[in-house]
């Protein structure tokens, strides 16, 4: 029954995500939005470095930014379902009364965002390879590492999303900003747009404490190994060490997610927040 609920939640998520009057517009939006985001970064990079696209920093930034789209898609996708169901569709209470595991339902709802996010990431990377000379050589890609890292990252982001969803349950107002705020904070300190070496020494531990840092590093290494290792912050670590750290952090994220969600869920029922709407 859990699998059936998960599948149904994913189906619902897809229906909501693709609820565009014109599929063509939906497709265009899915391409234009990520490319516009990437273009802003490329222009900024070009201005700062006088168009030095051969520096290893460029693929570092470009790939980091591309894969970071998953953070917004999966993590906030999970927590957004709480706001969407409670405020917009007013169905959260019916989901709670139903014999489903709410965390599984929420993760299922984010599957559609993962799929559309994957499409955006793919388009962005293809654009980078074709037009901006991001040095990805398909023959040299470590596919096994890439797939393992990607899957681990998705699990990690889903767990982080679940933690966020728990907190969102307790936020009657402005819960929708929480996901953006967390994603924005992580963007700065997880090596997505610049290596940790750029951060002041006292801020670097923050970057090392974030699992997304290791996840992005593994993805970069799997696609453009030599470039990714050009920065000293994590280059001393082997792929195996990075995977082990990431795995450990996923376990920790799972423990935090389960404890936080259960506590918030209990508190939300105690305070009567499950079906509270704000009408704003």
């Amino acid at each position: 029954m859990n699998l059936r609920s998960f599948r149904t939640a994913a189906w619902l998520g897809w229906k909501i995500e693709s609820n565009w009057t014109d599929p063509f517009l939906f497709a265009v939006y899915s391409i234009v939005k990520p490319l516009s985001g990437a273009a802003i970064l490329v222009v900024m990079y070009s201005v700062i470095t006088n168009g030095n696209f051969t520096d290893p920093l460029f693929p570092y930034i470009y790939l980091g930014n591309a894969f970071y789209m998953y953070v917004g898609a999966v993590m906030t996708g999970v927590s957004w379902a709480i706001i969407d169901d409670r405020e917009h569709y007013r169905t959260l209470k019916y989901m709670y009364v139903a014999p489903i595991r709410i965390p599984l339902y929420l993760i299922g709802r984010a599957v559609a965002r993962f799929l559309t996010g994957s499409f955006s990431v793919f388009i962005t990377i293809v654009f980078g390879v074709l037009f901006l000379h991001v040095p990805i050589n398909l023959a040299e890609v470590n596919w096994l590492l890439f797939i393992i890292s990607l899957l681990m990252g998705v699990v990690l982001l889903a767990l982080m999303g679940l933690t966020l969803a728990g907190v969102t349950l307790l936020l009657a107002r402005h819960g929708d900003y929480l996901g953006d705020a967390v994603a924005g904070g992580l963007y700065l300190f997880s090596g997505a747009v610049f290596p940790l070496d750029v951060l002041p020494a006292w801020l670097r531990p923050l970057g090392y404490a974030m699992p997304i840092t290791y996840w992005l590093e593994l993805l970069r290494r799997s696609l453009v190994g030599s470039v990714a290792q050009a920065f000293p912050s994590l280059s001393a670590m082997s792929n195996g060490q990075l995977l082990a750290i990431l795995a450990g952090m996923i376990v920790l994220a799972a423990v935090i997610a389960v404890i936080t969600f259960r506590w918030c869920d209990y508190q939300a029922r105690e305070r009567g927040y499950i079906d509270r709407t704000t009408n704003y």
């Binding site: 169905t91 709670y96 009364v97 009567g272 499950i274």
Partner: protein, 343 residues
């Protein structure tokens, strides 16, 4: 289900903490929505909770459906504690709230219903068959493939009612199910509810309403609830029987400034008086200890030069029971409640 009662509560209470309003420091910080509720609903029973808006009916349903924790006491549904054993309770129940437009508007009626059937573990083939049967029964068959956002509030409400019944719950909670429905649709729903409960003795239904007719017509037993307290609980007939020894009169009288209910309350044998100013005249409703008291009432009116336009004696209703218990009609109580005690 091995429990003796489908629904059982003891000393159930719920207090909401209110946000502090810095500008109005004298406002209360707590709101008591339910207090000391003891109920036993037997399997197979269609049980009604009757009370004005803000009486605590929805709070009670929220607790019983595991959505809200109680502040005091305990509640069991199908033998399981609703607070501690939520996982065991949920497969056995379902709920429908009236007067709201919940649902995924981008899905069709059939898709909405199918989706919920999946959450209850129904096989798709079986679910579709039952959905189509219920859609036909509720007159929604021709709207099966309409997006629910394109439905009127009433039709959407019907869809939600189907969602509640569709999953075959042992205990079903209907919170004001006919709110927002027209007279015909309300009648259809009431008749379906009665049929559904009669079809299977294992089913139990708890229904909240502030419509007297609904409670009277439909329910095996009714609990009258006001300001979070259960004031009386019995069959509608038994509740009304208490009043049958008394005489209830409605008098339409000419409009008269200064006419006050208090003038009649002092008369011996007058139990309750309600004065309702209407367009061009007033209506007085008396509950008298016996018919002979009416002559004193008429004398009082004559002394005040009030003309009696119409006088009728009628059988007691649940509204009269409520008036006797609370001292006000439900409408009046709602007005009082909305000035600070509603929830």
């Amino acid at each position: 289900m091995s429990a003796e009662y489908s629904i059982e509560t003891e000393g159930l209470g719920r207090t909401y903490r209110l946000r502090e309003n810095k500008k109005k420091k004298d406002q209360p910080r707590e709101l008591v929505a339910l207090t000391g509720v003891n109920l036993q609903v037997q399997r197979g029973e269609l049980f009604g909770l009757l009370g004005p808006n803000g009486a605590g009916k929805t709070t009670l349903i929220k607790i019983l459906t595991t959505l809200l924790g109680p502040s005091t006491g305990w509640a069991k549904v199908a033998g399981y504690d609703v607070h501690r054993e939520t996982v065991k309770v949920r497969p056995l129940i379902n709920m429908v709230s009236g007067g709201e437009s919940s649902g995924y508007g981008l899905l069709t009626v059939r898709e909405n219903l199918w989706m919920f059937s999946q959450f209850y573990g129904m096989q798709s083939v079986e679910a579709y068959k039952y959905i189509d049967q219920l859609l036909a029964e509720f007159g929604l068959a021709d709207r099966a493939n309409t997006k629910s956002s394109d439905l009127s509030t009433g039709l959407r409400q019907k869809m939600n009612i189907i969602r509640g019944f569709m999953t075959g719950p042992e205990v079903l909670f209907l919170d004001e199910p006919t709110l927002g429905l027209d007279v015909g649709a309300s009648r259809d729903v009431r008749s379906f509810v009665r049929r559904w409960i009669n079809e299977n003795p294992r089913r139990t239904l708890l229904l909240t309403t502030h419509t007297m007719v609904e409670a009277d017509e439909l329910c095996d037993r009714v609990a009258i609830i006001n300001r979070g307290r259960v004031l009386a609980c019995d069959t509608p007939a038994a509740l009304k029987h208490e009043l049958q020894q008394e005489a209830i009169f409605n008098l339409d009288v000419s409009a008269q400034n200064g006419l006050e209910a208090a003038a009649f309350e002092a008369l011996p044998g007058v139990r309750k008086v309600q004065l309702t100013p209407l367009d061009g005249h007033s209506q007085l409703q008396f509950i008298l200890a016996e018919e002979s008291v009416l002559s004193a009432v008429v004398n009082t009116l004559t002394q005040r030069d009030v003309t009696i336009l119409n006088l009728t004696k009628r059988e007691p209703t649940l509204e009269d029971v409520f008036v006797t218990l609370v001292g006000r009609s439900m409408a009046e109580e709602e007005k009082v409640g909305s000035n600070g005690n509603g929830h």
